[in-house]
Protein backbone atom coordinates (compact mmCIF):
# COMPACT_ATOMS: atom_id res chain seq x y z
CA UNK A 1 0.00 0.00 0.00
CA UNK A 2 1.19 3.51 -0.86
CA UNK A 3 -0.05 6.49 1.14
CA UNK A 4 -0.65 9.94 -0.31
CA UNK A 5 -2.50 13.10 0.67
CA UNK A 6 -4.73 15.18 -1.59
CA UNK A 7 -6.62 18.40 -0.86
CA UNK A 8 -10.40 18.09 -1.02
CA UNK A 9 -10.60 20.54 -3.95
CA UNK A 10 -8.03 18.57 -5.91
CA UNK A 11 -9.80 15.32 -5.01
CA UNK A 12 -13.04 16.73 -6.48
CA UNK A 13 -11.22 17.47 -9.72
CA UNK A 14 -9.66 14.00 -9.73
CA UNK A 15 -12.95 12.20 -9.14
CA UNK A 16 -14.80 14.41 -11.60
CA UNK A 17 -12.26 13.58 -14.32
CA UNK A 18 -12.61 9.86 -13.62
CA UNK A 19 -16.40 9.98 -13.53
CA UNK A 20 -16.64 11.88 -16.81
CA UNK A 21 -14.28 9.50 -18.58
CA UNK A 22 -15.92 6.27 -17.36
CA UNK A 23 -19.20 4.54 -16.80
CA UNK A 24 -19.50 5.54 -13.16
CA UNK A 25 -21.65 4.76 -10.15
CA UNK A 26 -21.88 6.50 -6.81
CA UNK A 27 -24.25 7.41 -3.99
CA UNK A 28 -26.98 9.73 -5.26
CA UNK A 29 -29.83 11.42 -3.48
CA UNK A 30 -32.94 9.88 -5.06
CA UNK A 31 -35.80 10.84 -2.74
CA UNK A 32 -36.84 12.50 0.50
CA UNK A 33 -38.59 10.23 2.99
CA UNK A 34 -41.68 11.07 5.03
CA UNK A 35 -39.51 12.43 7.86
CA UNK A 36 -37.70 14.80 5.51
CA UNK A 37 -34.50 12.72 5.37
CA UNK A 38 -32.71 12.20 2.07
CA UNK A 39 -32.78 8.72 0.52
CA UNK A 40 -29.59 7.57 -1.22
CA UNK A 41 -28.87 4.77 -3.70
CA UNK A 42 -25.86 3.70 -5.75
CA UNK A 43 -26.82 4.91 -9.18
CA UNK A 44 -25.17 6.00 -12.38
CA UNK A 45 -23.40 9.38 -12.04
CA UNK A 46 -22.08 11.59 -14.82
CA UNK A 47 -20.10 14.18 -12.86
CA UNK A 48 -18.75 14.64 -9.34
CA UNK A 49 -21.59 17.11 -8.65
CA UNK A 50 -24.08 14.25 -8.77
CA UNK A 51 -22.27 12.26 -6.09
CA UNK A 52 -23.52 12.79 -2.53
CA UNK A 53 -20.10 12.48 -0.91
CA UNK A 54 -21.59 13.26 2.50
CA UNK A 55 -24.29 10.57 2.24
CA UNK A 56 -25.40 8.70 5.34
CA UNK A 57 -26.21 5.25 3.93
CA UNK A 58 -27.76 3.96 0.73
CA UNK A 59 -30.98 2.00 1.16
CA UNK A 60 -29.63 -0.83 -1.01
CA UNK A 61 -26.02 -1.91 -1.13
CA UNK A 62 -23.80 -1.74 -4.22
CA UNK A 63 -24.08 -5.54 -4.55
CA UNK A 64 -26.19 -5.32 -7.70
CA UNK A 65 -23.23 -3.87 -9.60
CA UNK A 66 -21.29 -7.11 -9.02
CA UNK A 67 -24.20 -9.54 -8.73
CA UNK A 68 -27.03 -8.17 -10.86
CA UNK A 69 -30.49 -8.92 -9.48
CA UNK A 70 -31.28 -10.55 -12.81
CA UNK A 71 -28.68 -11.81 -15.21
CA UNK A 72 -28.71 -13.89 -18.36
CA UNK A 73 -26.20 -16.69 -17.85
CA UNK A 74 -26.36 -18.13 -21.31
CA UNK A 75 -28.29 -18.27 -24.56
CA UNK A 76 -29.15 -21.33 -26.58
CA UNK A 77 -29.90 -21.60 -30.29
CA UNK A 78 -31.61 -24.70 -31.66
CA UNK A 79 -31.04 -25.90 -35.21
CA UNK A 80 -31.45 -29.16 -37.04
CA UNK A 81 -31.93 -31.31 -33.99
CA UNK A 82 -28.91 -29.80 -32.25
CA UNK A 83 -28.18 -26.78 -30.10
CA UNK A 84 -25.45 -24.28 -29.42
CA UNK A 85 -24.76 -22.46 -26.21
CA UNK A 86 -23.39 -18.90 -25.98
CA UNK A 87 -21.97 -17.60 -22.75
CA UNK A 88 -21.13 -13.95 -22.46
CA UNK A 89 -19.64 -12.21 -19.46
CA UNK A 90 -17.79 -9.28 -20.87
CA UNK A 91 -18.12 -6.14 -18.75
CA UNK A 92 -16.92 -2.68 -19.68
CA UNK A 93 -14.56 -1.06 -17.15
CA UNK A 94 -16.41 1.11 -14.65
CA UNK A 95 -15.90 3.27 -11.63
CA UNK A 96 -17.62 2.84 -8.28
CA UNK A 97 -17.04 5.75 -5.95
CA UNK A 98 -17.97 6.29 -2.31
CA UNK A 99 -18.10 2.75 -0.90
CA UNK A 100 -17.85 2.53 2.90
CA UNK A 101 -15.48 0.05 4.57
CA UNK A 102 -18.35 -2.32 5.41
CA UNK A 103 -19.42 -2.43 1.75
CA UNK A 104 -15.86 -3.10 0.59
CA UNK A 105 -15.63 -5.86 3.23
CA UNK A 106 -18.83 -7.28 1.80
CA UNK A 107 -17.16 -7.50 -1.62
CA UNK A 108 -14.18 -9.25 -0.02
CA UNK A 109 -16.60 -11.78 1.49
CA UNK A 110 -18.28 -12.28 -1.88
CA UNK A 111 -14.78 -12.77 -3.36
CA UNK A 112 -14.23 -15.59 -0.86
CA UNK A 113 -17.47 -17.29 -1.80
CA UNK A 114 -17.59 -16.63 -5.53
CA UNK A 115 -13.94 -16.52 -6.56
CA UNK A 116 -11.89 -18.43 -4.02
CA UNK A 117 -14.04 -21.53 -3.80
CA UNK A 118 -13.99 -24.67 -5.88
CA UNK A 119 -16.15 -23.21 -8.63
CA UNK A 120 -15.21 -19.58 -9.27
CA UNK A 121 -17.92 -17.56 -10.98
CA UNK A 122 -16.68 -16.03 -14.24
CA UNK A 123 -19.70 -13.71 -14.23
CA UNK A 124 -18.79 -12.24 -10.85
CA UNK A 125 -15.11 -12.14 -11.75
CA UNK A 126 -15.82 -10.08 -14.86
CA UNK A 127 -17.84 -7.55 -12.85
CA UNK A 128 -15.40 -7.39 -9.96
CA UNK A 129 -12.15 -7.12 -11.92
CA UNK A 130 -13.52 -4.44 -14.20
CA UNK A 131 -14.67 -2.18 -11.40
CA UNK A 132 -12.35 0.52 -10.09
CA UNK A 133 -13.33 1.16 -6.48
CA UNK A 134 -12.81 4.33 -4.51
CA UNK A 135 -13.72 3.87 -0.86
CA UNK A 136 -14.42 6.62 1.67
CA UNK A 137 -14.58 6.45 5.45
CA UNK A 138 -17.45 7.91 7.47
CA UNK A 139 -18.66 8.46 11.00
CA UNK A 140 -20.99 5.59 11.94
CA UNK A 141 -24.73 6.08 11.99
CA UNK A 142 -26.49 5.39 15.31
CA UNK A 143 -27.44 1.86 14.21
CA UNK A 144 -24.26 0.83 12.36
CA UNK A 145 -22.66 -2.18 14.06
CA UNK A 146 -19.87 -3.02 11.62
CA UNK A 147 -17.33 -2.55 14.42
CA UNK A 148 -18.80 -5.55 16.23
CA UNK A 149 -17.89 -7.64 13.20
CA UNK A 150 -14.57 -5.86 12.69
CA UNK A 151 -15.61 -4.41 9.35
CA UNK A 152 -15.34 -0.72 10.29
CA UNK A 153 -11.93 -0.64 8.63
CA UNK A 154 -10.76 -2.38 5.49
CA UNK A 155 -7.31 -3.00 4.06
CA UNK A 156 -8.02 -4.68 0.72
CA UNK A 157 -10.61 -4.99 -1.99
CA UNK A 158 -10.38 -1.39 -3.26
CA UNK A 159 -8.17 0.60 -5.62
CA UNK A 160 -8.14 3.73 -3.53
CA UNK A 161 -9.44 4.51 -0.04
CA UNK A 162 -9.95 8.03 1.31
CA UNK A 163 -9.86 8.94 4.98
CA UNK A 164 -11.22 12.38 5.81
CA UNK A 165 -8.55 14.33 7.72
CA UNK A 166 -10.11 17.79 7.58
CA UNK A 167 -9.06 19.88 4.54
CA UNK A 168 -7.68 16.87 2.75
CA UNK A 169 -8.01 13.14 2.27
CA UNK A 170 -5.43 10.64 3.41
CA UNK A 171 -5.26 8.19 0.52
CA UNK A 172 -4.50 4.50 0.76
CA UNK A 173 -3.45 3.59 -2.78
CA UNK A 174 -3.90 -0.09 -3.45
CA UNK A 175 -3.32 -0.39 -7.17
CA UNK A 176 -0.82 0.84 -9.74
CA UNK A 177 -3.76 2.01 -11.85
CA UNK A 178 -4.89 4.33 -9.06
CA UNK A 179 -1.38 5.70 -8.60
CA UNK A 180 -1.02 6.29 -12.34
CA UNK A 181 -4.25 8.30 -12.42
CA UNK A 182 -3.31 10.25 -9.31
CA UNK A 183 0.03 11.30 -10.77
CA UNK A 184 -1.80 13.73 -13.05
CA UNK A 185 -3.08 15.59 -9.97
CA UNK A 186 -1.51 17.50 -7.10
CA UNK A 187 -0.81 14.87 -4.46
CA UNK A 188 1.77 14.84 -1.71
CA UNK A 189 3.37 12.43 0.69
CA UNK A 190 1.79 12.41 4.15
CA UNK A 191 3.54 14.58 6.70
CA UNK A 192 3.88 13.60 10.34
CA UNK A 193 0.95 15.89 11.03
CA UNK A 194 -1.16 14.09 8.41
CA UNK A 195 -0.33 10.76 10.06
CA UNK A 196 -1.46 12.12 13.42
CA UNK A 197 -4.69 13.43 11.90
CA UNK A 198 -5.34 10.01 10.37
CA UNK A 199 -4.87 8.32 13.75
CA UNK A 200 -7.19 10.89 15.36
CA UNK A 201 -9.78 10.27 12.63
CA UNK A 202 -9.67 6.52 13.17
CA UNK A 203 -9.96 6.98 16.91
CA UNK A 204 -12.98 9.24 16.43
CA UNK A 205 -14.68 6.68 14.16
CA UNK A 206 -13.99 3.89 16.63
CA UNK A 207 -15.39 5.90 19.53
CA UNK A 208 -18.51 6.98 17.65
CA UNK A 209 -20.26 3.63 17.50
CA UNK A 210 -23.51 3.60 19.45
CA UNK A 211 -24.65 0.08 18.61
CA UNK A 212 -22.85 -3.06 19.57
CA UNK A 213 -23.90 -6.60 18.79
CA UNK A 214 -22.10 -9.28 20.75
CA UNK A 215 -21.03 -11.84 18.17
CA UNK A 216 -18.25 -13.66 20.01
CA UNK A 217 -19.10 -17.31 20.31
CA UNK A 218 -22.23 -16.73 18.29
CA UNK A 219 -21.71 -19.75 15.99
CA UNK A 220 -21.91 -22.15 18.93
CA UNK A 221 -24.82 -20.21 20.44
CA UNK A 222 -26.65 -20.67 17.18
CA UNK A 223 -25.93 -24.41 17.18
CA UNK A 224 -27.27 -24.71 20.71
CA UNK A 225 -30.32 -22.59 19.92
CA UNK A 226 -31.39 -24.52 16.85
CA UNK A 227 -34.74 -25.42 18.40
CA UNK A 228 -35.25 -22.17 20.29
CA UNK A 229 -38.81 -20.78 20.31
CA UNK A 230 -37.26 -17.39 19.59
CA UNK A 231 -37.10 -18.24 15.87
CA UNK A 232 -40.85 -18.68 15.80
CA UNK A 233 -41.37 -15.43 17.67
CA UNK A 234 -39.49 -13.44 15.02
CA UNK A 235 -40.79 -15.64 12.22
CA UNK A 236 -44.34 -14.67 13.21
CA UNK A 237 -43.46 -11.07 12.37
CA UNK A 238 -41.63 -11.87 9.12
CA UNK A 239 -43.49 -10.92 5.93
CA UNK A 240 -41.43 -13.34 3.74
CA UNK A 241 -40.91 -10.40 1.40
CA UNK A 242 -37.19 -10.89 0.77
CA UNK A 243 -36.41 -7.20 1.28
CA UNK A 244 -33.61 -7.98 3.76
CA UNK A 245 -31.77 -10.15 1.25
CA UNK A 246 -32.29 -7.73 -1.61
CA UNK A 247 -30.72 -4.77 0.23
CA UNK A 248 -28.00 -6.88 1.90
CA UNK A 249 -24.45 -6.42 0.58
CA UNK A 250 -23.55 -10.11 1.02
CA UNK A 251 -26.72 -12.17 0.41
CA UNK A 252 -25.78 -14.01 -2.77
CA UNK A 253 -28.27 -16.90 -2.96
CA UNK A 254 -29.99 -17.19 -6.30
CA UNK A 255 -32.42 -19.11 -8.43
CA UNK A 256 -31.99 -20.08 -12.06
CA UNK A 257 -34.68 -20.64 -14.65
CA UNK A 258 -34.81 -21.42 -18.33
CA UNK A 259 -37.17 -19.86 -20.79
CA UNK A 260 -37.77 -20.85 -24.38
CA UNK A 261 -38.03 -17.93 -26.80
CA UNK A 262 -41.45 -17.14 -28.23
CA UNK A 263 -40.25 -18.23 -31.69
CA UNK A 264 -39.19 -21.62 -30.19
CA UNK A 265 -35.82 -21.26 -31.93
CA UNK A 266 -33.77 -20.41 -28.88
CA UNK A 267 -33.78 -20.22 -25.10
CA UNK A 268 -32.19 -18.33 -22.29
CA UNK A 269 -30.94 -19.35 -18.85
CA UNK A 270 -31.56 -16.66 -16.31
CA UNK A 271 -30.31 -16.12 -12.80
CA UNK A 272 -32.22 -14.14 -10.21
CA UNK A 273 -31.01 -13.23 -6.72
CA UNK A 274 -33.30 -14.93 -4.25
CA UNK A 275 -33.83 -14.93 -0.52
CA UNK A 276 -34.00 -17.75 1.98
CA UNK A 277 -37.00 -15.92 3.47
CA UNK A 278 -39.08 -16.39 0.33
CA UNK A 279 -41.73 -19.05 0.68
CA UNK A 280 -40.47 -21.39 -2.06
CA UNK A 281 -36.74 -21.04 -1.41
CA UNK A 282 -36.48 -24.64 -0.23
CA UNK A 283 -39.24 -26.04 -2.41
CA UNK A 284 -38.26 -28.99 -4.60
CA UNK A 285 -39.86 -31.11 -7.30
CA UNK A 286 -43.32 -32.34 -6.43
CA UNK A 287 -44.00 -29.23 -4.36
CA UNK A 288 -42.26 -30.50 -1.22
CA UNK A 289 -40.97 -27.64 0.91
CA UNK A 290 -38.15 -28.28 3.36
CA UNK A 291 -38.78 -25.00 5.16
CA UNK A 292 -42.49 -24.30 5.12
CA UNK A 293 -42.48 -22.12 8.25
CA UNK A 294 -41.55 -18.42 8.51
CA UNK A 295 -39.49 -19.09 11.61
CA UNK A 296 -37.41 -21.80 9.92
CA UNK A 297 -36.67 -19.62 6.96
CA UNK A 298 -35.71 -16.65 9.12
CA UNK A 299 -33.47 -18.92 11.21
CA UNK A 300 -31.53 -20.08 8.17
CA UNK A 301 -30.87 -16.54 7.10
CA UNK A 302 -29.35 -15.85 10.52
CA UNK A 303 -27.41 -19.10 10.36
CA UNK A 304 -25.91 -18.19 7.02
CA UNK A 305 -25.00 -14.73 8.24
CA UNK A 306 -23.69 -15.36 11.73
CA UNK A 307 -22.57 -18.97 11.71
CA UNK A 308 -21.48 -19.31 8.10
CA UNK A 309 -21.73 -22.20 5.72
CA UNK A 310 -19.01 -24.67 4.75
CA UNK A 311 -18.66 -23.10 1.31
CA UNK A 312 -17.20 -19.96 2.79
CA UNK A 313 -15.20 -21.68 5.52
CA UNK A 314 -17.88 -21.07 8.13
CA UNK A 315 -17.17 -17.33 8.17
CA UNK A 316 -19.78 -14.89 9.34
CA UNK A 317 -20.92 -12.99 6.25
CA UNK A 318 -22.75 -10.10 7.93
CA UNK A 319 -20.76 -6.86 7.79
CA UNK A 320 -22.96 -4.93 10.23
CA UNK A 321 -24.38 -2.30 7.88
CA UNK A 322 -27.92 -2.82 9.27
CA UNK A 323 -29.53 -2.17 5.88
CA UNK A 324 -31.79 -5.17 6.50
CA UNK A 325 -32.84 -3.75 9.86
CA UNK A 326 -33.64 -0.35 8.39
CA UNK A 327 -35.51 -1.76 5.41
CA UNK A 328 -37.57 -4.36 7.30
CA UNK A 329 -41.16 -3.18 7.50
CA UNK A 330 -41.84 -5.66 10.29
CA UNK A 331 -39.01 -4.17 12.38
CA UNK A 332 -36.81 -7.28 12.48
CA UNK A 333 -33.13 -6.42 12.87
CA UNK A 334 -29.98 -8.40 13.70
CA UNK A 335 -29.31 -6.56 16.94
CA UNK A 336 -32.67 -7.40 18.47
CA UNK A 337 -32.78 -10.98 17.21
CA UNK A 338 -29.26 -11.79 18.43
CA UNK A 339 -29.76 -10.07 21.77
CA UNK A 340 -32.99 -11.98 22.21
CA UNK A 341 -31.21 -15.23 21.57
CA UNK A 342 -28.39 -14.37 23.96
CA UNK A 343 -30.78 -13.20 26.64
CA UNK A 344 -32.53 -16.50 26.50
CA UNK A 345 -29.34 -18.49 26.81
CA UNK A 346 -27.67 -16.31 29.40
CA UNK A 347 -30.67 -16.08 31.64
CA UNK A 348 -30.85 -19.85 31.45
CA UNK A 349 -27.19 -20.31 32.39
CA UNK A 350 -27.29 -18.16 35.48
CA UNK A 351 -30.67 -19.57 36.47
CA UNK A 352 -32.30 -16.15 36.98
CA UNK A 353 -35.32 -17.11 34.96
CA UNK A 354 -36.13 -20.23 33.01
CA UNK A 355 -35.90 -20.37 29.24
CA UNK A 356 -39.17 -20.23 27.38
CA UNK A 357 -40.52 -23.74 26.88
CA UNK A 358 -39.42 -25.55 23.78
CA UNK A 359 -42.09 -26.40 21.26
Amino acid sequence: MIYKVISKEEFSRFVDALIRENCSYGPREVDTDRHGNPVYQFRRVHSADEVAFDYTATHSSAKHLMLPYREELSRFRFSEGDWEQDIEYRVKPRLLVGLRPCDISALNILDDVLLNGKFPSPYYLAQRKNTFIIGMDHLPLPDCFCQSLNHHTVTKGFNLFCSDIGDSYYLSVNSSKALTYLKNFAIGDPTHEDDCRLIERRKLIKQSFQTEVEVTGLPSFLDIEFDSPIWQKWGDKCLNCGTCAMVCPTCYCYDTSERIDTDLEGASRQKQLYSCNLVDFAEVAGGHNFRPGNGDRLKYRYYHHYRGFAENANQQICVGCNRCGRACLADINPKDVINDLRMEKESCMICVSPSPPRT
Binding site: R43, L239, C241, S275
Partner: protein, 254 residues
Amino acid sequence: MQHLGFSTNKLKIGSFDFTCCEGCQLQLANKEETLPEFLDLLDIRNFREISSERFDDYDIALVEGSISRSDEVERLQAIRKQAKILIAYGSCACFGGVNSLKNHFPPDECVHEVYGDSPVETLPVRRISDVVKVDFSIPGCPVSKDEVERIVVSIATGAMISLPKYPVCVECKQQLNTCLFDLGEVCLGPITRAGCNAVCTTGKTACLGCRGPAEDINYRSFRELVKEHGLSLDEMEEKLRFYNCFEEFRDDES
Protein backbone atom coordinates in the same frame (compact mmCIF):
# COMPACT_ATOMS: atom_id res chain seq x y z
CA MET B 1 -44.02 -31.95 -36.82
CA GLN B 2 -41.74 -32.55 -33.86
CA HIS B 3 -39.24 -29.97 -32.64
CA LEU B 4 -37.26 -30.39 -29.41
CA GLY B 5 -39.50 -33.28 -28.51
CA PHE B 6 -42.80 -31.47 -28.75
CA SER B 7 -45.34 -30.96 -31.49
CA THR B 8 -45.17 -27.66 -33.35
CA ASN B 9 -48.84 -27.74 -34.22
CA LYS B 10 -50.32 -24.35 -33.50
CA LEU B 11 -52.45 -23.95 -30.40
CA LYS B 12 -56.10 -23.55 -31.34
CA ILE B 13 -57.05 -20.66 -29.16
CA GLY B 14 -60.11 -18.55 -28.44
CA SER B 15 -60.27 -15.42 -26.32
CA PHE B 16 -63.50 -14.30 -24.72
CA ASP B 17 -64.54 -11.30 -22.71
CA PHE B 18 -67.19 -10.94 -20.03
CA THR B 19 -67.75 -8.03 -17.65
CA CYS B 20 -64.53 -6.08 -18.10
CA CYS B 21 -62.81 -3.35 -20.11
CA GLU B 22 -61.17 -5.76 -22.59
CA GLY B 23 -57.85 -4.23 -21.59
CA CYS B 24 -56.25 -7.61 -20.99
CA GLN B 25 -57.18 -8.83 -24.47
CA LEU B 26 -55.73 -5.64 -25.82
CA GLN B 27 -52.48 -6.48 -24.01
CA LEU B 28 -52.25 -9.70 -26.01
CA ALA B 29 -52.25 -7.69 -29.21
CA ASN B 30 -49.51 -5.51 -27.75
CA LYS B 31 -45.70 -5.79 -27.44
CA GLU B 32 -44.91 -5.51 -31.11
CA GLU B 33 -41.34 -6.77 -30.86
CA THR B 34 -42.54 -10.34 -30.34
CA LEU B 35 -46.09 -10.10 -31.71
CA PRO B 36 -45.40 -11.94 -35.00
CA GLU B 37 -43.68 -14.82 -33.15
CA PHE B 38 -46.44 -14.91 -30.56
CA LEU B 39 -49.19 -15.06 -33.18
CA ASP B 40 -47.18 -17.71 -35.03
CA LEU B 41 -47.66 -20.05 -32.07
CA LEU B 42 -51.40 -19.66 -32.27
CA ASP B 43 -54.19 -20.69 -34.56
CA ILE B 44 -56.66 -17.96 -33.63
CA ARG B 45 -60.14 -19.41 -33.84
CA ASN B 46 -62.05 -16.74 -31.99
CA PHE B 47 -60.54 -13.44 -30.81
CA ARG B 48 -62.43 -10.35 -31.80
CA GLU B 49 -59.63 -7.87 -31.10
CA ILE B 50 -57.30 -9.71 -33.47
CA SER B 51 -59.48 -11.32 -36.15
CA SER B 52 -63.03 -11.00 -37.44
CA GLU B 53 -63.24 -14.74 -38.17
CA ARG B 54 -65.18 -16.73 -35.60
CA PHE B 55 -64.91 -20.51 -35.13
CA ASP B 56 -65.89 -22.71 -32.24
CA ASP B 57 -63.23 -25.44 -32.53
CA TYR B 58 -60.68 -23.99 -30.08
CA ASP B 59 -58.76 -26.13 -27.55
CA ILE B 60 -57.61 -23.35 -25.27
CA ALA B 61 -59.98 -20.65 -24.02
CA LEU B 62 -58.61 -17.44 -22.56
CA VAL B 63 -61.36 -15.89 -20.48
CA GLU B 64 -61.33 -12.26 -19.46
CA GLY B 65 -63.78 -10.45 -17.19
CA SER B 66 -66.08 -11.34 -14.34
CA ILE B 67 -69.61 -12.72 -14.43
CA SER B 68 -72.45 -10.30 -13.69
CA ARG B 69 -75.38 -11.36 -15.91
CA SER B 70 -77.27 -14.63 -16.35
CA ASP B 71 -76.58 -14.81 -20.11
CA GLU B 72 -72.87 -14.64 -19.28
CA VAL B 73 -73.23 -17.79 -17.17
CA GLU B 74 -74.64 -19.70 -20.13
CA ARG B 75 -71.99 -18.43 -22.53
CA LEU B 76 -69.20 -19.30 -20.10
CA GLN B 77 -70.55 -22.81 -19.58
CA ALA B 78 -70.56 -23.38 -23.33
CA ILE B 79 -66.93 -22.22 -23.55
CA ARG B 80 -65.98 -24.57 -20.73
CA LYS B 81 -67.62 -27.43 -22.54
CA GLN B 82 -65.59 -26.80 -25.70
CA ALA B 83 -62.19 -25.92 -24.19
CA LYS B 84 -59.65 -28.52 -23.12
CA ILE B 85 -57.84 -25.85 -21.14
CA LEU B 86 -59.59 -22.79 -19.69
CA ILE B 87 -57.39 -19.95 -18.52
CA ALA B 88 -58.84 -17.09 -16.51
CA TYR B 89 -56.81 -13.97 -17.19
CA GLY B 90 -56.88 -10.56 -15.67
CA SER B 91 -57.97 -9.50 -12.19
CA CYS B 92 -61.68 -9.44 -13.13
CA ALA B 93 -61.64 -13.08 -14.26
CA CYS B 94 -59.42 -14.24 -11.39
CA PHE B 95 -60.85 -12.23 -8.48
CA GLY B 96 -63.86 -10.25 -9.66
CA GLY B 97 -61.76 -7.13 -10.08
CA VAL B 98 -62.90 -3.53 -9.88
CA ASN B 99 -66.41 -4.65 -10.91
CA SER B 100 -66.80 -6.28 -7.50
CA LEU B 101 -67.04 -2.87 -5.83
CA LYS B 102 -70.67 -3.07 -6.94
CA ASN B 103 -71.23 -5.92 -4.50
CA HIS B 104 -70.75 -3.54 -1.58
CA PHE B 105 -73.81 -1.43 -2.52
CA PRO B 106 -77.54 -2.21 -2.87
CA PRO B 107 -78.08 -3.54 -6.46
CA ASP B 108 -80.96 -1.16 -7.22
CA GLU B 109 -78.86 1.83 -6.24
CA CYS B 110 -76.04 0.72 -8.56
CA VAL B 111 -78.34 0.15 -11.52
CA HIS B 112 -80.05 3.50 -11.02
CA GLU B 113 -76.73 5.33 -10.68
CA VAL B 114 -75.44 3.96 -13.98
CA TYR B 115 -78.54 3.42 -16.12
CA GLY B 116 -80.99 5.93 -14.66
CA ASP B 117 -84.52 5.13 -15.74
CA SER B 118 -83.53 2.35 -18.17
CA PRO B 119 -82.63 -0.45 -15.72
CA VAL B 120 -80.77 -3.57 -16.86
CA GLU B 121 -80.65 -7.03 -15.37
CA THR B 122 -77.56 -7.55 -13.19
CA LEU B 123 -76.24 -10.12 -10.70
CA PRO B 124 -73.66 -9.77 -7.95
CA VAL B 125 -70.19 -9.99 -9.54
CA ARG B 126 -68.52 -13.41 -9.49
CA ARG B 127 -65.09 -14.61 -10.53
CA ILE B 128 -64.79 -17.19 -13.32
CA SER B 129 -63.87 -19.97 -10.89
CA ASP B 130 -67.15 -19.35 -9.02
CA VAL B 131 -69.01 -20.50 -12.13
CA VAL B 132 -66.83 -23.06 -13.96
CA LYS B 133 -63.63 -24.99 -13.36
CA VAL B 134 -60.54 -22.94 -14.16
CA ASP B 135 -57.34 -24.75 -15.17
CA PHE B 136 -54.98 -21.85 -14.73
CA SER B 137 -55.13 -18.21 -13.70
CA ILE B 138 -53.02 -15.33 -14.93
CA PRO B 139 -53.72 -12.36 -12.66
CA GLY B 140 -53.08 -8.67 -13.22
CA CYS B 141 -54.81 -5.45 -14.16
CA PRO B 142 -53.97 -5.62 -16.93
CA VAL B 143 -52.12 -8.90 -17.39
CA SER B 144 -48.45 -8.66 -18.25
CA LYS B 145 -48.02 -9.61 -21.88
CA ASP B 146 -44.60 -10.99 -21.10
CA GLU B 147 -46.09 -13.37 -18.53
CA VAL B 148 -48.88 -14.45 -20.89
CA GLU B 149 -46.27 -15.12 -23.58
CA ARG B 150 -44.17 -17.19 -21.17
CA ILE B 151 -47.22 -19.23 -20.18
CA VAL B 152 -48.41 -19.75 -23.76
CA VAL B 153 -44.90 -20.91 -24.71
CA SER B 154 -44.96 -23.29 -21.73
CA ILE B 155 -48.27 -24.74 -22.93
CA ALA B 156 -46.91 -25.07 -26.47
CA THR B 157 -43.78 -26.85 -25.27
CA GLY B 158 -45.41 -28.90 -22.54
CA ALA B 159 -43.34 -27.20 -19.82
CA MET B 160 -44.46 -26.56 -16.27
CA ILE B 161 -46.51 -23.39 -15.79
CA SER B 162 -45.95 -21.29 -12.72
CA LEU B 163 -46.31 -17.81 -11.30
CA PRO B 164 -43.90 -16.21 -8.81
CA LYS B 165 -44.88 -17.15 -5.26
CA TYR B 166 -43.09 -14.28 -3.55
CA PRO B 167 -44.41 -10.73 -3.11
CA VAL B 168 -43.85 -7.58 -5.17
CA CYS B 169 -41.23 -6.26 -2.67
CA VAL B 170 -38.62 -8.54 -4.28
CA GLU B 171 -39.07 -6.95 -7.70
CA CYS B 172 -39.48 -3.48 -6.21
CA LYS B 173 -36.16 -3.73 -4.35
CA GLN B 174 -34.53 -5.01 -7.53
CA GLN B 175 -35.46 -1.70 -9.13
CA LEU B 176 -33.83 0.19 -6.22
CA ASN B 177 -37.12 1.95 -5.54
CA THR B 178 -37.69 3.90 -2.35
CA CYS B 179 -40.16 1.95 -0.21
CA LEU B 180 -43.55 3.65 -0.39
CA PHE B 181 -44.00 3.11 3.35
CA ASP B 182 -40.93 5.36 3.76
CA LEU B 183 -42.82 7.93 1.71
CA GLY B 184 -45.83 7.61 4.00
CA GLU B 185 -48.11 5.45 1.86
CA VAL B 186 -49.90 2.17 2.42
CA CYS B 187 -48.61 -0.16 -0.28
CA LEU B 188 -49.86 -3.73 -0.77
CA GLY B 189 -46.49 -4.80 -2.25
CA PRO B 190 -45.51 -6.94 0.78
CA ILE B 191 -48.54 -9.20 0.38
CA THR B 192 -49.16 -9.12 -3.39
CA ARG B 193 -47.92 -11.73 -5.85
CA ALA B 194 -44.93 -10.57 -7.90
CA GLY B 195 -44.60 -10.94 -11.66
CA CYS B 196 -45.50 -7.39 -12.66
CA ASN B 197 -41.90 -6.20 -12.26
CA ALA B 198 -43.21 -3.71 -9.69
CA VAL B 199 -44.44 -1.46 -12.46
CA CYS B 200 -46.71 0.67 -10.23
CA THR B 201 -44.32 1.19 -7.34
CA THR B 202 -41.51 2.00 -9.78
CA GLY B 203 -43.80 4.79 -10.94
CA LYS B 204 -44.21 5.80 -7.26
CA THR B 205 -47.80 4.57 -7.15
CA ALA B 206 -48.74 2.27 -4.28
CA CYS B 207 -49.48 -1.36 -5.13
CA LEU B 208 -53.22 -2.04 -5.05
CA GLY B 209 -52.75 -5.80 -5.18
CA CYS B 210 -54.17 -6.49 -8.65
CA ARG B 211 -52.27 -9.79 -8.83
CA GLY B 212 -53.82 -11.07 -5.63
CA PRO B 213 -52.12 -12.45 -2.54
CA ALA B 214 -48.63 -13.99 -2.76
CA GLU B 215 -48.36 -17.51 -1.33
CA ASP B 216 -48.55 -17.91 2.44
CA ILE B 217 -48.67 -14.18 3.18
CA ASN B 218 -48.35 -12.89 6.73
CA TYR B 219 -51.50 -10.76 6.76
CA ARG B 220 -51.52 -10.26 10.51
CA SER B 221 -48.00 -8.85 10.49
CA PHE B 222 -48.85 -6.66 7.50
CA ARG B 223 -51.83 -5.19 9.33
CA GLU B 224 -49.65 -4.53 12.39
CA LEU B 225 -47.01 -2.73 10.38
CA VAL B 226 -49.57 -0.41 8.79
CA LYS B 227 -50.65 0.55 12.31
CA GLU B 228 -47.08 0.85 13.61
CA HIS B 229 -46.13 3.14 10.74
CA GLY B 230 -48.97 5.40 11.86
CA LEU B 231 -50.83 4.87 8.60
CA SER B 232 -54.55 4.55 8.13
CA LEU B 233 -56.20 1.14 8.40
CA ASP B 234 -59.13 2.59 6.44
CA GLU B 235 -56.78 3.38 3.59
CA MET B 236 -55.46 -0.17 3.80
CA GLU B 237 -58.99 -1.62 3.72
CA GLU B 238 -59.88 0.54 0.76
CA LYS B 239 -56.85 -0.68 -1.15
CA LEU B 240 -57.49 -4.31 -0.21
CA ARG B 241 -61.02 -3.96 -1.50
CA PHE B 242 -60.08 -2.30 -4.80
CA TYR B 243 -59.65 -5.46 -6.89
CA ASN B 244 -61.45 -7.80 -4.53
CA CYS B 245 -58.30 -9.94 -4.34
CA PHE B 246 -57.97 -10.13 -0.55
CA GLU B 247 -61.50 -10.98 0.49
CA GLU B 248 -60.50 -14.03 2.52
CA PHE B 249 -58.00 -12.00 4.56
CA ARG B 250 -60.14 -8.95 5.16
CA ASP B 251 -62.85 -11.00 6.76
CA ASP B 252 -60.38 -12.55 9.20
CA GLU B 253 -59.49 -9.34 10.93
CA SER B 254 -62.17 -6.74 10.47
